[in-house]
Subunit: 233 residues, 2 copies
DNA sequence: TAGTGGTCTAGACCACCCA
DNA sequence: GGGTGGTCTAGACCACTAT
């Protein structure tokens, strides 16, 4: 009796990957079911399941009950973006972080913002404009609206001292949302604050944050020229 | 004897999330170990493990053997980007996809590209320039270098018919890599191809693709003005 | 060295959904 | 109806690392 070696889910995932990239299992093909693979690899079905789930998470496989597991026709590339807080983003560049609140007011937001926050017209919200600096140089200009119905405490928070991003992370830690990225030309006012020329190409990030179905905040961030966002593929 | 209800890992993940957002387990705190939680929730340790692993993947917890599981000080936001192939990206906008190869040549790449591809100087690589259209309007201009040492078959592929992205997906399906995003001003030549004005702000995406340690391709993509990339938070 | 998370097993039941 | 993936259990051993 020879003891069979213990299989690991990573080894199985690698082998399945190999079969796909070598064309043993072409795009669109149905692959053997978990039980059969478990027998082939000499391991428990749960181990195969773990391996296949990982590959499905990577977008390489499509799994459906009863229908089985298929190789995706065009494997979708997935990239992950880790968004550190601004302070870390600046400090990782070896610069000193600075923060300046430019504007704080409570008033009904313009209607596109009201719609995004799912607020009825004329309901006031908290409007903030702030500048994040790296070694005194402007790094990011943010224009933010906070839904005071979702986070009433924000009205009394001192956003001159703590930036809204970190305050929200502490007070509403569990959120989902959406990110929109685009390029835009610097408006004159923005150019002045970011210390660049009007019309310069800026990296713009719009973000809506949702907590348990409630729209918490909308923020438009403009990065100073030269900013580069990195994602791991 | 009352049978205890079966616990699900999602329910446990929700409960742990709740304890974090309610401040029962503040940022930085050590939470009970898996065995204790399993006892508390009346389930198997594997179920707790699955729940905590998911929250750790989301960036909410830090888990280390022996040291235990901690609530992250500043929960890192993570966003996922699904990158469909260009054809789907265009068709999802309800437009007809078009593709045009502008340039194909084999020659040693400029040194920054050579360095990125980890190629010695003077080693030729495949250089492609192509335009992707949406309903006849230019949508994306790509400038690509392919490492022929990594994928020799690319030299004989017909990139006038099939775009390099899809060809590579079929032939080198399993890759990792890195994505860089930034904003840039349109150069005159680029402006003409993208049908916009020189100096217009463009969304630029640089991508390096790695297969099993080998640098496969580097590509710089310029999107026509107005493009917006969306990520799920 | 001891305590923690990481993983594997063998078995079971269930949810889904195609035929 | 029946086959598939999805999950849970109870138990075990292992890998890592703080102390």
């Amino acid at each position: 009796m020879t003891a069979r070696p213990r299989q690991s889910w990573t080894a199985i995932a690698r082998e399945v990957s190999r079969r796909i990239s070598d064309g043993d299992w072409p795009a669109g093909a149905l692959i053997p079911n978990e039980a059969d693979l478990a027998q082939e690899f000499g391991c428990a079905r749960a181990t195969v399941s773990r391996a296949l789930r990982e590959l499905a998470d990577q977008g390489l496989l499509d799994r459906r009950r009863r229908a089985g597991t298929r190789v995706r026709e065009l494997p979708e590339r997935r990239a992950r973006l880790d968004i550190p807080v601004m302070r870390q983003q600046v400090e990782r560049r070896g610069a000193r972080y600075g923060y300046l609140l430019l504007l704080r007011e409570v008033l009904p937001p313009p209607s596109p913002v009201a719609a995004t926050l799912a607020l009825p017209q004329q309901v006031p919200a908290l409007h903030l404009r702030a500048l994040h600096n790296a070694d005194e140089a402007p790094f990011l200009l943010e224009d933010r609206w906070i839904n005071l119905r979702a986070v009433p405490d924000a009205e009394t928070a001192d956003f001159a001292r703590e930036n809204a991003n970190e305050w929200l992370l502490r007070n509403v830690p569990l959120t989902t949302g959406e990110l929109g990225l685009t390029a835009c030309a610097a408006a004159p006012e923005e150019a002045e604050l970011l210390n660049c020329a009007p019309g310069d190409a800026l990296f713009q990030q719009d973000r809506i944050t949702i907590n348990d179905g409630e729209r918490v905040t909308w923020v438009r961030s403009l990065y100073a020229p030269g900013y580069r966002m990195r994602l791991a593929l």
